[in-house]
Symmetry: C2
Subunit: 614 residues, 2 copies
């Protein structure tokens, strides 16, 4: 036992020293926030985290999530100790081009990091997602999430706490590094460990309070957590900058490197530079369960009017029969988004997270990190609740398949709080994202199926009301493509729509045809990437492009079209954007579209005027 | 007492009946969710809410927030009972053009509604903001927030619970309408009132559990809450659809109107149509305190290099001396955004909300509803955490003054999790928003000062590093304007920048000048509204416009420029957008801008190529 205690303490000192070394060399970073959790990490990686360093993607492994991402130096120091990275790599912290970034990110060079952190309060939901994945696979693993005390102010932490307790996830352990000091001074509850334990208990977690620098207490707590039949919340009282007299529990040191002239003294107090190597306990042998009965039915055949949200649900339900890796998350609106069809088809792969969109997306990030193809859906308006989680998902290189229903003013009577009017903008702006917006059932079936194999963030926008069928079941809808529904060599104008506005464009074109104006109609079902080539030809050939969208004028389809046109060279022509420019109220879908000036009549009128002025 | 009981029960029945009547007429809506809270509202408005119906904006009033916004029919029914609206208005629910929308919104016709609700989990933070405003004013009022049990799954609710307890706000009462049924079935905790009471207690609230249809119990609970020295959380066990046998506690009735052929029976069970009018208790006489010692110093004079975030803080601190209504909110990053300067200048008007951006913005909505000029700041990246709150703020017609610091890859070493790269997109897409992006200290002073008087959502983007001074202290920066820094009649190309990229444009123009290429440089400090006229002239006169931004290519400055150009008529020319198109890592600010291709060298190179190809 004494040897173990010595090793734990020595490794903790090494983690602290290495955290100081790499941040001092970088000239910035968070050494003191790393030092407070050094003992917690030392005992975890030495004796409790069952982890094959050579096979970090193994589903048999335990997982560790550093929710307090600014303590990245401590994580990198541990990765060095377990032989994942070299000391040279560690010392490249924060350098341009180095994978050892200021906050952890799962770049290809670092397969030991599963998710990006650094926006606080997100790690527990991600860990919960991993715990769900393990449960689905029948894996023996456990997820350990290290939280900071400052980030406990984020409601998203307690949202995830609630969800974990409700779902009786017993393979999730939260470690709260209670170091008392936040970025600018004392935290709300400072060292009141009982404040946090009381909260976690109230939600139904098993809780423990320990001295976070007492390695024996930590070891015992981890053992107790491993044996618990509930998620366990360990509140560890620690000191920021622990082990160095001039840093320990001192204000004014958050996010500051130790100056080079004080580095030696700090390292000396910690016993000097060490190069201890440890091997974490090895995971149990394990073979993932194959979930669900797979069957090979044909895809849903939709040849009449249908709401694309309904087609989304039908397609997902069908896909569960083909993809054992498919998991679907709901934010208690499954009867609106139609993910409820999945609950019927494959109940074990439908996870109800209630009205908690941040947890829903965090869980999704965790699930996909462990190989699941995870979809999540809510009203498009409410997907904005998870904006920062989705943003971090993109930094996590996560494959997130999201669906936002109830797009635009077309939802009608419920009013603006339920209308997604900024969702295209939100999802288009994310790096590497794909944004899809089908206008009928057949397109929805194809696009949802394609989403299963897309990388990065993909977003499907669906409509509340039924829309007529436009396409047959054999029509293909490649991402990045478009459909030109009517075109001639002498078109006077081009009408671009997607989703509900495509139908308005078709109707407008018919009205214009009666007046001798021939309109080309383009279905931009792929809003990002968009079919720049088709749009370019349309501008060159018709000189007038009118884009109609049930969305704000900023960041949506209209801006996507303009960007595509600008990116293909010299602009010569007129581009008119029709969008929702005022604040809507209630009304029928048709009334709302007429009010917004995005219905067939408004589109035809703008086309008429533009053509007459040519 | 018997008379009061009779009145409370009769009014509750009237609220239930009126909720049925207006939703049946509309053909949609949430009667059953309204019926569960009818008794809670009846007792509140009859006997506890101190409220002058004729002067709803009086700061002496108590305030009511319907966090479960879908119970709007109940709120409208109460407004009818207190004489604020007529029965005809009530019956116009959900009709096009009616202020009686599907969810409550503070449209001009309804001054009795302070904030928009309908995206769940936001009302408590808004109520907390109102409670803060009352405390600042020394007002005797109390804020009553009605929550649904489904929305209690949102972490934002508990984030606000935590903040209210920490700030010892004793004039805030939460009423939880525990009706057991959510949108698609039973809630997580169904009728386990103690589950919620336990949570609220753990955070330090005074808690009560009652039968939410027992008017005497409700009355006693309200009296106890009014006397409490802490925020009070009342868990009221209720029935969805209470009072009608075929609706009461039945699944499948969420968000459904009673069919016309069942309406009569439902109303009959509730005792028929009534027209009770009640007058709420009148508020105490009260005169708001004038806060802070006002002084008339000159604005901060910044004539050297400074970080715009620092200039933001200095300006706010100065403004506290001129505007007694100014309140500043921090998300525990005040030493990064420099709102900490306000804490020094006017500590009583600086509210630390810790790392809880949703609560911060919710509180801000509440503060401005009671007349405060409220600023809130965090890293731009973390403002995305509050995206849905800001969205609802725009529906609330709220005047929100937001600042996001640490814009773009220019933050350098901390890496992508801390970089605001999608913030311009987020804020541009909001209805009626203003987006400002100063490039030096003098511009920041002016723009922050102007923000105090802007309506709607305004967003200021600031930079981490110091930037050189470009303007003198007398330069004006009107919203919607721009600055043309260098122009001639024969410019070859236009370079458009804002914030850090403006400095790169200036440097690029100098380099190009050495090669005989004359570049016009435009400072688009007002990203929305943007100076379409200056941009149009630039395109017409130079035919090549290059826009550089430290942001994603979607939804930011480049799209704003394209939109402005398209909206002013026929496009003839080339528009080139330079933006951050890949996923950044760590590095110095200069390295990151070079990597992204948005520094002076990249801008000059693109200009050179474009001019040579002309």
């Amino acid at each position: 036992m004494d040897d173990r205690i010595q090793l734990w303490n020595d490794l903790a000192a090494q983690i602290a020293v290495d955290s100081i070394r790499c941040t001092t060399k970088a000239g910035s970073g968070h050494p003191t926030s790393s030092m407070s959790c050094a003992h917690l990490l030392s005992v975890l990686y030495t004796s409790h985290l069952r982890y094959d360093v050579a096979d970090p993607e193994s589903l048999a492994n335990d997982r560790f999530v550093l929710s307090k991402g600014h303590a990245a130096p401590a994580l990198y120091a541990v990765l060095k100790a377990i032989g994942a990275i070299s000391d040279d790599q560690l010392m490249s912290l924060r350098e341009f081009g180095s994978p050892i970034q200021g906050h952890p990110a799962p770049v290809p060079e670092l397969p030991w990091i599963d998710v990006a952190t650094g926006s606080l309060g997100q790690g527990l939901a991600m860990g919960l997602g991993m715990a769900f994945a393990m449960r689905l696979d029948g894996a023996p693993g456990r997820v350990w999430v290290l939280l900071g005390d400052s980030e406990a102010a984020e409601g998203s932490v307690w949202e995830a706490v609630e969800a974990a307790a409700f779902h009786e996830v017993d393979n999730l352990v939260a470690l709260l590094d209670l170091n008392r000091l936040g970025q600018r001074g004392p935290t709300m509850h400072e060292w009141q460990a009982d404040a946090f334990a009381r909260r976690a208990q109230a939600y139904g977690w098993h809780t423990l309070e320990i001295d976070g620098h007492d390695v024996e207490a930590i070891d015992a707590a981890y053992a107790e957590a491993s044996a618990a039949d509930r998620p366990t919340f360990i509140v560890a009282r620690t000191e920021k900058g622990h082990g160095v007299s001039f840093l320990s529990n001192q204000e004014g040191w958050h996010g500051k490197a130790v100056p080079a002239d004080q580095e030696g003294a700090a390292i000396e107090e910690l016993g000097g530079i060490r190069s201890i190597a440890v091997v974490p306990p090895q995971p149990e042998e394990f073979k993932p369960m194959m979930l669900g009965e797979l069957h090979a039915e044909n895809p849903p055949l939709i040849d009449g009017p249908v709401a694309t949200r309904k087609a989304f649900g039908s397609t997902l339900a069908w896909l569960t029969g083909h993809r054992p890796d498919l998991v679907v998350l709901d934010g208690e609106v499954g009867n609106s988004t139609y993910t409820e069809d999945v609950e019927v088809a494959a109940p074990e792969r439908f996870i109800e997270l209630y009205i908690a969109e941040q947890t829903m997306v965090g869980v999704q990030i965790g699930l996909q990190a462990l190989g699941k193809t995870a979809f999540a859906a809510s009203f498009g308006a409410f997907m904005t609740r998870a904006a920062d989680f989705v943003r971090m998902g993109s930094i996590s290189r996560a494959n997130l398949r999201l669906c936002g229903s109830h797009a635009g003013v077309s939802i009608g009577e419920d009013g603006p709080s339920q209308m997604a009017l900024e969702d295209l903008s939100l999802f288009r702006a994310l790096h590497g994202s794909t944004v899809l917006y089908p206008s009928d059932g057949a397109a929805t079936v194809k696009l949802v199926t394609e989403m299963c194999d897309l990388e990065g963030i993909s977003y499907l926008r669906t409509t509340r009301e039924a829309t007529p069928a436009l396409y047959g079941p054999d029509e293909g809808f490649p991402v990045g493509g478009s459909k030109t529904l009517s075109a001639s060599e002498h078109d006077d104008v081009t009408l671009v729509g997607a989703g509900v506005t495509l139908h308005a464009c078709i109707e407008a074109a018919a009205a214009l045809a009666n007046e001798g104006i021939t309109a080309r109609v383009i279905d931009c079902y792929s809003v990002k990437p968009i079919d720049a080539s088709a749009l370019r030809s349309a501008l060159d050939e018709t000189r007038i492009v009118i884009v109609a969208e049930d969305h704000r004028p900023e960041g949506g389809l209209g801006d996507a079209v303009l960007d595509a046109l600008a990116s293909t060279g010299l602009l010569e022509g007129t581009v008119i954007k029709l969008a929702v420019t005022d604040m809507p109220g209630s009304g029928t879908a048709a009334q709302m579209r007429a009010w917004a000036g995005i219905d067939a009549s408004a589109i035809a009128e703008r086309a008429r005027t533009a053509v007459s002025r040519r």
